[in-house]
């Protein structure tokens, strides 16, 4: 399998207080083309921090990062901002936990979905851009895509907004989609729909997905490989089936035990 993202020794430290606080300690991740990797762990385990770092969204002055995030022969941690920006939204996209607030409240849905295209491919004709956006909105399961195109975020439900976020993230056909707890804020039925949608995207477009969640059953359904994090460290990683059937680390065992009922024969696309 072709490796498209190679993260080694990612280390993130906060300097908000007197003593520096380590958020992520030596995080490693190799992401293959078309692969879905899950990162699980409780709040504060550093999983979202790692994801934001890969997406190039950790730029606070009170924070230091070290290690390497290799993508397309560039180290995203050290390359210039312009190079990083040229990947953001075009090659590497991200969707977030909060679909209610992640969209700009005063801009139309269509405008927001098209944004990556406008930034990265300004040569694309306005009409074609609109067509692509409407097609994208249809692809993520919004039936009345042409109407949604002209709506504002407050006119949509949480599930619909997350679909819009996915449409906006996918319009540039990125190589990597980072999904940072994309279903946590949604109803259980909507959660399953979003997971199915991510599966479909992965299958049809071959997009590699990094799926971050604390919901192990979802990870089990969706991911081929899983990384378990605790307090900024990777405590266990491997094939999802192996990790979930034969957890070696006590923390992983606890996480699995904490789930009321887990379907270990889940219908995930186990490659």
């Amino acid at each position: 399998m072709e490796i498209i993202l190679d993260v080694t020794d990612l280390h993130i430290e906060f300097h908000d207080h007197e003593t520096p606080e380590v958020a992520v300690h030596d995080f490693d991740l190799m992401l293959g083309k078309g692969e879905i990797v899950g990162i699980v762990g409780e709040s504060g385990s550093g999983k979202s921090m790692s994801a934001l770092a890969i997406a190039g969204l950790l730029n606070r002055k009170t924070l230091t990062k070290s290690g390497r995030i290799m993508f397309d022969k560039h180290d995203l941690l050290t390359c210039d901002r312009k190079t990083l920006r040229s990947y953001q939204g075009d090659e590497i996209s991200i969707i977030f936990q909060e679909p209610m607030t992640s969209l700009n409240p005063v801009k139309r849905i269509g405008w927001q979905v098209e944004e990556s295209l406008r930034i990265h491919h300004p040569d694309i004709d306005k009409k074609i851009r609109k067509m692509k956006a409407i097609k994208m909105l249809k692809d993520v399961g919004l039936e009345n895509a042409a109407d949604v195109y002209n709506m504002y975020p407050h006119e949509l439900s949480g599930g619909m907004r997350q679909r819009v976020m996915i449409a906006a993230a996918m319009i540039g056909e990125p190589k990597i989609l980072i999904a940072d707890e994309p279903t946590t804020a949604l109803d259980v039925t909507v959660q399953a729909q979003i997971v199915d949608l991510l599966k479909k995207i992965n299958r049809e477009k071959g997009t590699s997905i990094i799926f971050i969640s604390h919901d192990l059953s979802l990870v089990n359904q969706l991911c081929q490989r899983v990384i378990v994090m605790q307090k900024g460290n990777i405590v266990e990683s491997g094939k999802t089936t192996d990790v979930f059937t034969r957890p070696r680390h006590t923390y992983t065992k606890k996480l699995i035990a904490a789930i009321p009922k887990i379907d270990l024969n889940g219908d995930g696309d186990m490659a």
Partner: protein, 313 residues
């Protein structure tokens, strides 16, 4: 459209209520207009006759409607002290005061929005600190005093304009506007400080919101995030403030006219108050009220354009 219509109806209702209040207030004020007109030596018979002629003995509501309908038609009554129609008395004064208020508003918008953006963009930088400190100072100086300072600096030292050399718009529009620039600046200064402070805070708040992170994730640079995403959101509270500030600046211009010896509404307002020339005072107060209410209506309409969440049930 429905929203605009609703706001329009509410504007008309407000106008009627305000006019009723103004009329009522001038009715309970002491002083008999008939006596005022005729002088203290007039015989009681003549006063009674005049009162009858002026319709002062009619029931309150009848007098109110007569006054209101005339007002809408542009007949503001007759000045007690000058015995000429109020409309003619204020007609060539209102444009002066109004121009000043509007110029102050335009100056406020043109200066405060770029400054607000700069202070927020370079938060805690040197420029931000300098502007913040000057803001505190400027905010504390009342317009009439900054007016005196401006006259001194720009008029007497730099000689950019001639203090007291007011030229009416009927004579020379260019010189009229140039002269009014400095008093308008005096009116605008405290509002500029407040708007800068407000926009800065609003921009910084908005920049911390989730959609900003989304905007960065799509490959926007700082300016892209600022101008394409954050600014419109941050302007929402600022628009409300600017609406109030506009009405306030029209009223504030009245005071400043005295400092710059501009023959606007102020002089006639002051003399009319001391002469108990009620029709003139009424007309001016109503004029200011109309401006405030219309501006509020316009702010509501602009609001709806900027923030799509407003007016949806």
């Amino acid at each position: 459209m429905k929203y605009t219509l609703k706001k329009f109806v509410s504007m008309i209702v407000t106008l009627v209520v305000v006019s009723l209040c103004v009329f009522l207030a001038f009715n309970v004020l002491p002083g008999d207009p008939a006596v005022r007109m005729l002088g203290l030596e007039a015989s009681p018979e003549l006063i009674a006759q005049t009162r009858e002629q002026m319709g002062l003995n009619d029931p309150f509501l009848v007098r109110y409607f007569r006054w209101f309908i005339a007002f809408v038609q542009g007949d503001f009554g007759t000045s007690y002290s000058y015995s000429v129609p109020v409309a003619g008395l204020v007609a060539n004064k209102i444009p002066i005061t109004l121009t000043m208020g509007l110029m102050a508003f335009v100056i406020t918008v043109l200066i405060s929005i770029p400054l607000g953006i700069v202070t927020a963009k370079y938060e805690n930088g040197i420029l931000d600190r300098i502007i913040n400190v000057s803001n505190q100072i400027v905010m504390a100086i009342p317009p009439f005093f900054s007016g005196i300072l401006i006259t001194f600096v720009f008029g007497l030292i730099l000689r950019i304009f001639t203090p007291g050399g007011f030229v009416s718009y009927t004579e020379d529009m260019g010189r009229f506007v140039r002269y009014l620039f400095f008093p308008s600046l005096a009116v605008a200064l405290p509002k500029i400080s407040m708007t800068v402070k407000m926009l800065r805070g609003s921009l910084i708040d908005e920049a911390a919101k989730d959609y900003t992170r989304t905007a960065y994730s799509r490959g926007n640079n700082t300016n892209g995030v600022l101008y394409r995403h954050v600014l419109k959101n941050a302007m929402i509270p600022v628009i409300t403030f600017l609406g109030m500030a506009l009405a306030d600046m029209v009223a504030g211009s009245i005071v400043i006219e005295q400092v710059f010896s501009i023959p606007g509404i102020s002089r006639i307002l002051l003399t009319s108050i001391s002469n108990r020339d009620y029709p003139v005072v009424e007309a001016i107060i109503m004029g200011i009220a109309v401006i405030v209410i219309v501006v509020n209506f316009l702010v509501d309409v602009i609001y709806r354009i900027v923030d799509p969440r407003i007016g949806i049930e």
